[in-house]
């Protein structure tokens, strides 16, 4: 990307931080929440927390699409893998713990599990190897769901189906507002999800909940500016929906993507690891695509799994109630090399992001 577009100008960062300091109300703790693994990465990697005024805090909500896949849905994939179906998935999904084992452990026992870069690669492999049955573990928020939709609508081969674990972000944000003593004063809304869904789905946060909401991009300047915009609203006592990331996020989102999603998927209730069931928060292939729905094709429906292992605090990390280093296992029993919980597995998981950067960056 051309340098001009990098949004990493340290001078500008300094200016924003100075402005923040001027407008931050004294004697009050102000807490904002983001819901995006990439925001957490930017904030942690660039040590942005250490630049913020002392009484301004940014916490990480459920922004990692891999971390929140319930164990039951990993169990479904593991069960199929053990029966000889080839499971294709993103690299991040491989080590996510199921109730008994991860897909990686199933692979070590001889199952055919293959990592792909995107769903189209999985479809291509299935076309080449017609003597085998293929399943794609479709994990991701609204950023990823359109690619699954396109492939599902594009006449995939008969030996291919989708184990859909897609989830939607706005219902998770709404849940956070109901979590007692979280006391959030504003949302930093995720840029890439918003590139697809646009601004409209966030309207209810300022309107119904009086919650300042700013959609922000992922460069350090984007995140600082987003926090500054939230802080300004907070200080002025307003609750607005604003867009910091207008170079990518349009009010209407990406209409083509929304259309294919709507054609392929119906919205339904879904379980989130560490959170439980959220209404209208998951996607399911529509009836006309049922032949490609893995759960229907092989009649696998696992309702309950073991989401949180003894001692793992992922359920508190996922909703921003505790920081990773408040979990007794962090960097002791649980490390990126030997993860215990889902938050340490994915590159977007808060524990992993912290584990990978604590050595070099100060974190408040």
């Amino acid at each position: 990307m051309s340098e001009k577009l990098r949004f990493r100008d340290p001078e500008l960062a300094k200016e924003i931080v100075q402005k923040m300091r001027k407008i931050t109300p004294k004697g009050e703790h102000v807490k904002f929440c983001h819901v995006c693994g990439t925001h957490e990465w930017t904030i942690t990697h660039y040590g942005l927390r250490s630049l913020l005024p002392r009484n301004v805090e940014v916490i990480a909500g459920p922004g990692c699409p891999v971390c929140i896949v319930p164990a039951a849905e990993i169990d479904e994939a593991v069960q199929l893998a053990q029966k000889g179906v080839v499971i294709t998935c993103f690299g991040d999904v491989l080590r996510v713990p199921g109730s008994q084992m991860s897909l990686l452990e199933a692979k070590a026992e001889g199952a055919d599990v293959r990592v792909v870069y995107g769903v189209s690669d999985a479809v291509e492999i299935a076309k080449r190897e017609q003597d085998k049955e293929f399943v794609f573990s479709a994990v991701g928020f609204e950023t990823t769901a359109p690619s699954t939709a396109i492939e599902a609508l594009g006449n995939p081969p008969e030996n291919f189906s989708f184990l859909v674990s897609h989830r939607l972000i706005p219902p998770a944000m709404e849940l956070l507002l109901g979590v007692g003593d979280l006391n959030i004063s504003g949302f930093l809304a995720p840029g890439h999800v918003s590139a697809i869904i646009g601004m409209k789905p966030y309207e209810l946060f300022p309107r119904v909940y009086r919650m300042p909401t700013v959609v922000a991009g992922f460069e350090p300047i984007d995140v600082l500016m987003g926090i500054y915009m939230l802080l300004k609203q907070h200080t002025q006592g307003t609750a607005l929906l604003e867009n910091e990331y207008s170079r990518v996020v349009k009010w209407e989102g990406n209409p083509k993507a929304l259309e294919v999603m709507d054609q392929a998927f119906a919205v339904t209730g879904g379980n989130w690891r560490g959170i439980g069931r959220l209404p209208n928060s998951a996607l399911k292939l529509r009836n006309q695509l049922v032949a490609y729905d893995t759960r229907e094709k092989y009649d696998v429906h696992i309702e309950q799994g073991k989401d949180i292992l003894l001692g793992c605090e992922c359920h508190l990390v996922i909703i921003g109630k505790i920081k990773p280093n408040e979990c007794p296992m962090f960097m002791k029993a649980c490390t990126p090399a030997k993860p215990v919980g889902a938050c340490m597995v994915s590159n977007e998981g808060t524990c992993r992001v912290w584990a990978k950067t604590t050595a070099s960056q100060p974190i408040n």
Partner: protein
């Protein structure tokens, strides 16, 4: 994670893009209206949105201006 890339050439729903390391990759562009020379945001092999370069430059300029002139609330 989505990464910006420069569209080099198009062939139907496929495009060759450059992620900045000079390595060209094929991505699916059926979700966006992109042409050669545009920046697109790529996630898992799919371009999910075009990046408005003009808007980006304007945004930066505007921020600098706002930060320079903006009256602090209450001051």
């Amino acid at each position: 994670m989505a990464i910006p890339a420069l569209v080099k050439s198009l062939d139907g729903s496929k495009a060759r893009v450059d992620f900045g390391e000079g390595v060209l990759r094929d991505v699916n562009v059926s979700l966006v209206d992109a042409k050669a020379g545009d920046y697109v945001l790529v996630h898992a092999g799919y371009a999910i949105q075009t990046v408005d370069e003009e808007d980006a430059l304007e945004t930066l300029a505007l921020w600098k201006e706002i930060l320079a002139t903006e009256k602090d609330p209450g001051s």
